[in-house]
């Protein structure tokens, strides 16, 4: 039982790391109806920018600010050269464009900073917290706890922003209906640039944590794949959904990875580990069959 809890806690905490990436997706989707596949690439770019600036001699805090600046520029450029020209196109086209964008960033980031694998030290050691280990024999990582705290703070902040500010409202309006928003004078350009900058900020936080955990390298772009089932589960438009979805996905995939392969091996013989690659997706899929709009997703309002 104690092992079960250890897996569960570990899963919940790694789920929070997925949520961080998912959050970026949600932001952009909510504000512009764009399913931004490039979020993973942005995480990579952000982390690489931090490391790159530090290599040039900047201290961590300055590097973070500079990297945020770079992500903002990226957001503005994306808006100016891509999104602005694609107003009113079907969501699938915008989605494809972001895949194109992710390719672009995948090439651009290492071109700018080099593609060596590099460490990112943010002064947090990923080690078990001794007293928990001693008294309960459960591994809980300091690093994960800090990450979880950061993620929750970020979510709270963003939820408030969306619900209660003028810009937050405009963001939601744009997500609902580009053209109507345009017609009442909401400048899509600014809104989009802004939301991309915010998404860039979230990517920066995610990149910092993931980068410090796994090293800053190309594989950071794969974090996007971990975030997708979180999104489906939580709903594309819900900030809290990203967190809850992350927790559920994280916990269940870890539990599944531990407890399902032995069962399968019992049936078929062989080694069935590695199911966490698809398990979240299949779970999300089954969940969707029951609730097609996700846990917290907005119901599609339509009248016949």
């Amino acid at each position: 039982m104690q092992f079960f809890f250890e897996v569960l806690i570990g899963g919940l905490l790694s789920g929070v790391m997925y949520s961080l990436v998912a959050l970026g997706f949600v932001l952009i989707f909510k504000a512009s109806g764009v399913f931004n596949f490039a979020q993973g690439a942005m995480v990579y770019f952000a982390a690489l920018s931090v490391v790159g600036c530090m290599e040039k001699g900047a201290p961590l805090w300055l590097a973070l600010i500079l990297a945020f600046g770079i992500m903002t520029l990226l957001g503005i450029a994306t808006e100016k050269f891509v999104l602005r020209k694609m107003v009113n196109q079907p969501p699938i086209a915008l989605f494809m464009a972001t895949i194109g964008l992710s390719f672009f960033i995948d090439g651009f980031a290492p071109l700018l900073w080099g593609n060596e694998v590099r460490p990112l030290d943010i002064g947090l050691v990923d080690e078990p917290i001794p007293w928990i280990l001693d008294s309960y024999n459960i591994v809980v990582s300091k690093f994960d706890l800090v990450a979880a705290g950061l993620a929750l703070a970020l979510v709270a902040l963003l939820a408030l922003f969306f619900q209660y500010t003028r810009v937050g409202r405009a963001l939601r309006a744009v997500a609902d209906d580009h053209q109507a928003a345009l017609s009442i004078g909401i400048p899509l350009q600014h809104i989009w640039a802004l939301v991309w900058a915010v998404a860039g900020f979230v990517a920066l936080v995610a990149g910092m944590l993931w980068g410090s955990r796994n090293g800053v390298q190309f594989a950071l772009t794969f974090t996007a794949l971990k975030a997708l089932p979180v999104l489906i589960l939580g709903g594309f438009t819900s900030v809290p959904g990203a967190i809850v979805g992350g927790l559920i996905i994280g916990a269940s995939e870890k539990l599944a990875e531990i407890y399902i392969p032995p069962v399968l091996a019992g049936w078929f013989g062989g080694n069935f580990g590695g199911i966490e690659g698809w398990f979240p997706y299949v779970m999300a899929l089954l969940f969707l069959l029951v609730r097609p709009e996700g846990l917290f997703g907005e119901k599609h309002i339509d009248r016949v």
Binding site: F3, E6, V7, G10, G11, S14, D106, G107, P110, G114, N115, E116, V117, R118, P119, D121, V125, D126, E127, P128, L133, V139, S141, F143, W210, R213, N214, G215, V216, Q217, F218, A219, L220, F222, T223, K226, E253, K254, E257, I258, N271, G273, G274, I275, E276, G277
Partner: protein, 444 residues
């Protein structure tokens, strides 16, 4: 549709023109052409940078020293992004240029080498897979054109077991070893060998796969924590390695009881892991460091002349750089061997290079001659043994550099090589290939 086709035709003719422009006109002098389907971007791009940097630097070095008995080496890179289809395209694109006088082809990708095995044989181009690739090609009777040189995953796994056995006073009986592997062809190859070893040495083997790309190993390491193994042998690649090391730290598993394969034992894996990597061990078939005379000489000669391939010279002397050099040394030695038989100072054709690869005999003395003492093990190949060595060293990360722990260790050939032969025989049957008769050829 006609119009579209015309555009396509124009585009392709432009491409063809560019292609033409890219190749310098063939010179009268004898040249040996190396095609390098390499990768410098994508998930494993960082590794490719070092490996191909070393490889190309050695070729430049040879050229600066007058070539292979006067035969200059030319080469061309083509980015594969570690993608099989792109690898095939690269191969097909450069094939015609390589037809006359090819160097052994190094893909540094198991997947691409699989895809090229048949094609290269049909085109009579020798394929070298140093420490990766289709391992059953050790049996040269079925795979005359493919060379898993130096060592294979299976032999390496066996050598690691031998190392652990020595460490434990000659017996692993009753011990528990976790095999943590990248869930792909690469990670699966050694399983049969490890299972054989576990039967032989009576240790418990627990296999835990990690789904690609391996940037999340919480569950796997929790399982390891629960299993409480004595050792963890890890077959990782790219981000999986560093994640494994960091997660081991997080779960409190001692790194000095983790042993990686040679693809999990480079600076690219340990440096980013920081302190967590201290004490981590790995196998390798070449040593790191600039104190090898050859590496020092390359730095002096090639970089001195400003012809170095590395942008980031701090990578000089890293594991993967030195591996690239080692791979190039073997390739060049094969051509030398071929020249020795078929005519010095001449460019060798595919058949001749193949012969060279199959009749390598790089002794300690020869290694010393080229300044590569201790860089790589001695290699002696034959028709029925395309591996030629099967030896690795164990090294340990001390927080700043790799420290070599052992001398060359050879895996259990009697146990492992029959596995290759069985696999090769099955392959031959599926494909309807009649194996060569190595014994008869040896007599000739």
């Amino acid at each position: 549709m006609i119009k579209q086709f015309k555009q396509l035709a124009i585009a392709s003719s432009v491409a063809a023109a560019c292609l033409g422009a890219a190749i310098p006109a063939a010179q009268a002098a004898e040249e040996q052409f190396f095609m390098l389907p390499s990768y410098r971007v994508g998930p494993y791009g960082a590794n490719g940078q070092s490996f191909y940097g070393g490889f190309i630097d050695y070729l430049s070095y040879v050229n600066q020293k007058g070539g292979i008995d006067g035969v200059q080496i030319t080469w061309e890179e083509c980015e594969t992004e570690y993608n099989n289809a792109k690898g095939v395209e690269c191969y097909e694109r450069m094939k015609s240029k390589a037809q006359k006088a090819p160097g052994p082809i190094h893909t540094m990708s198991t997947g691409i080498s699989y895809a090229l095995v048949d094609k290269a044989a049909a085109d009579k181009l020798p394929l070298a897979m140093m420490g990766y690739g289709l391992t059953s090609a050790v049996d040269g009777s079925v795979f005359p054109w493919a060379f898993p040189l130096v060592t294979t995953y299976q032999m390496q796994a066996s050598a690691i077991i031998k190392f652990l056995k020595d460490k434990n006073a000659g017996s692993l009986a009753g011990k528990k070893i976790v095999y943590l592997y990248h869930d792909s062809a690469y990670g699966k190859e050694p399983i049969l060998a490890l299972e054989a070893e576990s039967r032989l040495n009576k240790f418990d083997l627990v296999q835990i796969p990690v789904a690609h790309p391996g940037n999340e190993q919480g569950a796997q390491w929790q399982r390891i924590r629960q299993e409480k193994p004595d050792y963890v042998i890890m077959w990782g690649w790219g981000v999986m390695n560093m994640t494994a090391i960091k997660t081991a730290q997080k779960m409190g598993f001692p790194r000095d009881r983790m042993i990686g394969s040679w693809w999990a034992g480079s600076e690219e894996d340990t440096v980013p892991a920081g302190d967590a990597a201290k004490g981590y061990m790995s196998a390798t078939w070449n040593v790191a460091g600039k104190d090898v005379p050859l590496i020092a000489d390359i730095e002096k000669t090639v970089y001195g002349a400003g012809k170095g391939n590395l942008k980031d010279t701090s990578k000089l002397g890293t594991i993967l750089y030195n591996r690239g050099v080692s791979a190039a040394v073997l390739s060049v030695e094969a051509i030398r061997a071929a020249q020795a038989k078929h005519g010095k100072g001449k460019a060798m054709n595919g058949e001749q290079v193949r012969w060279g690869l199959e009749n390598l005999n790089i002794t300690e003395a020869r290694l010393k001659q080229i300044g590569a003492t201790g860089l790589l093990p001695d290699v002696k190949t034959s028709c029925d043994n395309h591996e030629g060595s099967g030896k690795v060293k164990l090294q340990q990360w001390d927080g700043a550099k790799w420290v070599v722990l052992t001398d060359w260790i050879e895996g259990n050939k009697q146990l492992i090589h029959p596995l290759f032969q069985a696999d090769a025989a099955k392959f031959a049957k599926e494909k309807g290939i009649t194996p060569r008769n190595c014994a008869a050829e040896a007599k000739k």
